[in-house]
């Protein structure tokens, strides 16, 4: 059956103020059934306050073969990390 049924990606928001996080995927015939299935598969232990489902085919992924050109050039640019500032003592914890 799963061969004919579309795949969906599931995102759950664990609590208010946090963003939805990808938790996995599932098969369902349409978006209503996907939401029901997501509730049953991924929120059985009180994980969520909100669910998003997105058709997996709607996601465009970066090409693993381009990983080197995509990600490695940032490795030598430590100045992009906000670690070169002196923080005055009375600012406290940041």
């Amino acid at each position: 059956m799963s061969g004919e049924v579309p795949l969906w990606e599931v995102f759950i928001r664990p609590r208010n103020g946090l963003s939805h996080k990808h938790v996995g995927s599932l098969h369902a015939a349409d978006e209503v059934m996907a939401l029901n299935a997501a509730r049953d598969v991924y929120t059985r232990r009180g994980e969520g306050t909100s669910i998003w489902v997105v058709p997996s085919k709607a996601i465009t992924a970066s090409d693993p073969d381009q990983a080197a050109e995509n990600f490695e050039p940032t490795a030598g640019k430590v100045y992009r990390h906000p670690t070169f500032y002196e923080i005055p003592d009375d600012v406290g914890h940041m």
């Binding site: 059956m1 799963s2 599932l26 098969h27 209503v32 029901n36 299935a37 049953d40 059985r44």
Partner: protein, 245 residues
């Protein structure tokens, strides 16, 4: 003892249907339903536990939930015949679930106004679970009823098979009537008719005429199916009385 009898009717409906759903565990047509069906089974079995515990307190004879669930025979079970019907195919299981939940959701909603605090507590939790069961089973009934040629045929066959058992949802045995703490079963009918009517219209299913509704479970007269189910459900407890996890 009408309250005890009425609580047992409710508890037996929930336990028997919960056990039936649990039989799908590992056999559902897709992984997602293999989790959803036991989820719903656990909702029902959880409700039956609190109902049995309360029934045992009301009876005052020292019987706890296990004694009531595992040490009564088929001839002492008060569940309606609908819930003991074998699972059949997925269409029959979903339809049976819809029929039951479409009754229990308005029933528990009415029970939120009960003068009995324990009943209000049970109702408050169960009403949300039943609302979900209507949604889950209802969506499947709609998609199967208005789906492929085969799914529509199977769904209509399920209706022909099971609709005759629905009348008994609205009945209590004579011994269980007139309980202030619980809603009147017959009064739930208009809401049940409305919900089933809406879902059937969307599913393009016909509601059949039922000249001879099947009943008897409330009077402890059951079909062949229940005895086999209880034998399997009770064997461990009877072989090892008092066993715990």
């Amino acid at each position: 003892m009408a309250l005890f009898e009425a609580l047992l009717e409710l508890a037996d409906d929930h336990l028997v249907l919960g056990h039936r759903l649990s039989e799908w565990c590992g056999h559902a047509p897709m992984l997602e339903e293999d989790l959803a069906l036991p989820n719903m089974a656990l909702d029902l079995i959880g409700t039956s536990r609190t109902l049995y515990t309360y029934a045992g307190e009301v009876e005052g004879a020292g019987r706890d939930e296990d004694a009531l669930a595992y040490l009564r025979d088929e001839m002492e079970y008060r569940n309606c015949l609908l819930v003991e019907r074998p699972n059949g195919d997925f269409a029959q299981t979903m339809l049976r679930q819809l029929y039951f939940a479409a009754f229990m959701e308005p029933y528990w909603k009415a029970a939120l106004e009960s003068p009995d605090e324990t009943v209000r507590g049970i109702a408050g939790k169960a009403v949300k679970e039943m609302a979900y069961h209507i949604r889950h089973a209802g969506e499947w009934v709609i998609r199967l009823g208005d789906g492929t040629e085969e799914s529509a045929r199977r769904m209509q066959e399920a209706v022909e098979e099971l609709h005759r058992y629905t009348d008994e949802l609205f009945h209590s045995s004579a011994a269980a009537r007139g309980v202030d703490a619980l809603p009147d079963r017959a009064a739930i009918r208009p809401e049940w008719d409305r919900v089933i009517g809406e879902i059937f219209a969307e599913a393009r299913l016909e509601i059949p005429q039922v000249p001879f509704p099947q009943q008897g479970g409330r009077e402890m007269q059951h079909g062949e199916a229940l005895g086999h189910m209880l034998a399997e459900m009770q064997v461990t407890h009877r072989a090892h009385p008092g066993a715990v996890w």
